[in-house]
Structure formats: C-alpha cells, structure tokens
Subunit: 191 residues, 2 copies
Amino acid sequence: MDLRERQLSSESVYDGNFLHVRRDQIALPDSSTATREYIVHPGAVVVVPLVYDASGGLRVVLERQFRYPLDRVLIEFPAGKLEQDEDSLLCVQRELREETGYTATEWAYAGVMHPTIAYSSEHIDIWFARGLHAGPAALDAGEFLEVFTASVDELLDWCAQGLVTDGKTLCCVLWLQNVLSGRWKLNWQPA
Amino acid sequence: MDLRERQLSSESVYDGNFLHVRRDQIALPDSSTATREYIVHPGAVVVVPLVYDASGGLRVVLERQFRYPLDRVLIEFPAGKLEQDEDSLLCVQRELREETGYTATEWAYAGVMHPTIAYSSEHIDIWFARGLHAGPAALDAGEFLEVFTASVDELLDWCAQGLVTDGKTLCCVLWLQNVLSGRWKLNWQPA
C-alpha cells in the first residue's frame, strides 16, 4: 500500500515569535482530501554528557527547568534549538557550554528522534559527550535552569518512577543503557 | 532557586481543526516578563502490544504510518488522542482495536511521557497489552496504516540503525527493554 499523502496547497496560519504553524490541503492515498496543521520547526539537539566522580563512577549531567506548557519543573538532558543553517555538532557544543559551562574533548552522534510526528516537523539529534571540563555557563537572557549530576542507576530509577517524563531525555536514556551494555556502538570523535 | 514562571495574561492565537495555539505573557523568576507560545493538547495514549509466535517467541505489534509534517512513513506503536473526558485505558483499548483489530485480556500502565515540553501541553500515557486476540480493524475515515509484528531484537536493531525515530515509540522501547530484563515492574490487570 502506498501510504503517502500529497500536498495540494499550503498556507501559513500563525507566524509567532517562536511557533510557526502551517495548514495544508492534502490528497490521501485514496485521493480524497484532508487538512494537515503542523508546526514548522528548525530542529534541535540534545546531549548525554558523561562525567566521572572521584571514585570513577559514571554520572550524567542533567538540568532542572520550568516548562510553562506543563506548568512544572522537568528533569532534562541539556538541549537547544538549531539556529539558521547551524551545524548540529556546533549547536550541541554551544548549548552544552551555554547551559552548563561544560566543554568536552570527545563527541559521538547517536541518532535522531522525532518528538511529535503528528504535528511538528521537529527532529532532535542525540549526541554523547565525554572528557568534560567545567567552565562558566552563559545562559540566555530569560533562561533559568539548575545543573546537577546523577548516577545512571538514579536516572533509571527516576524514569521508572515517573520522575523523568521528558520524551527526548527518555530517548537519551534508551541510548545510554544500550551503549553502556555494549549493544549499541558510538563512534567517538575529538572535539 | 524558584524556577517557576507565572502567567500574567493568556490569549488564543490560533484555533484550528486540530491545533490550538495560545500565547501567554509571563513573569520569569527574576520578575522580568516574556512570551510563551504553546499548543494546548488533550493528551494521548500509546500501547506496546505483546504477542507470541508459533514457537513461543515474543513479538510486538507495530504500525507503518505516513506522517505529513516529516514527509515520510514512520514505524510506531499504536497510539491515539484522548477524546473529551475519555479514560486513558478505555482510549488505548479503543485505539488498539480500531487501528489493529486486536483486543487484549490484560493491560498494564507503565508511565507517562511528555513529547514536546517546550511548546505543547501534550502528555502520552504508555500502556502494555497482552493476551491479544485478532479481530477486524475499524480505521477512521482518512486513516491509512499498515499493521505488522517484529521481534524485540529486530525492533532494537531498527532503533540503533535510525529506522525507528518516533519519540513515543522509542520511549516504549525503553520501557520494553527494562520490563523484559526485570528491572522495571508492570502491574497487570484484567481488561
């Protein structure tokens, strides 16, 4: 079966500071017509930053950030939106430095996830970072967040308990677990 | 640090057939003001349906569906949107039956994920189903999808290879892996 939908027409219906909404008329596989409304998004990045405590135990760098649409503070891996024509690796290096102060000597691209396939074009590239060095954070004006670290066991328990519910962060945990078990491989590259 | 943002005013800026966008003026933790634009969403459900092949091997029921904002066919677990005041379990039972034809004798609630914390209020309840019985599907008008099954190893390989990128489905895979390893527990209940 050919599942594709074909664009018949497209219009911008909301062009905000942050959200850009389009409404398209489309042809369905059976040639009937329908409407699709969706967010046009530039894409984003998220990073799993690996650090080691004094006794060599693996920890990850996380953030607590208030997320207004959900009216609550959520636990997340550091993330951010791609700027116009920005390279994914340069973006994730920038976001990690700005939000947490950390720079990293090695990076690995894990994969991509699509957070909201029904109504957004957004993709999020998932990166890993290691060889971290602390430095000064440089938050954007109006950006407020707390940086902290957790062991992998703590993070997994929080996911099971419903204390970590952010989709991109849960996808990172899937990657983290399979990388640590050796099932999924990363290709590390120097920064 | 108190990370909360406080609503000063709120207006509807786009009220479509599917997407409902609001723009709020807010007070930041330092009392400066900012704007938040976000989708108001009723919430959704997703299900990991467990089936066994003739030799007793575990398989999961998946779907292939064209997702217009990404202009491609994606692999997903069966999912759907909550109707007004609909119970989460009744919704996921309805969606599984309508989209795949399957009914299940046992259900377990796993947890919740938030796909798009920056710009949508959407939450997705993650359910597991077992004791599946095939029956006729009843797709909505204009709904086109293919139902198929995969082994857990196949599914994990597809995630590693970038062939499964849907966020809710990857979160389900995180649950599936940890449930199968015995690390995370489910509380099964009869349908």
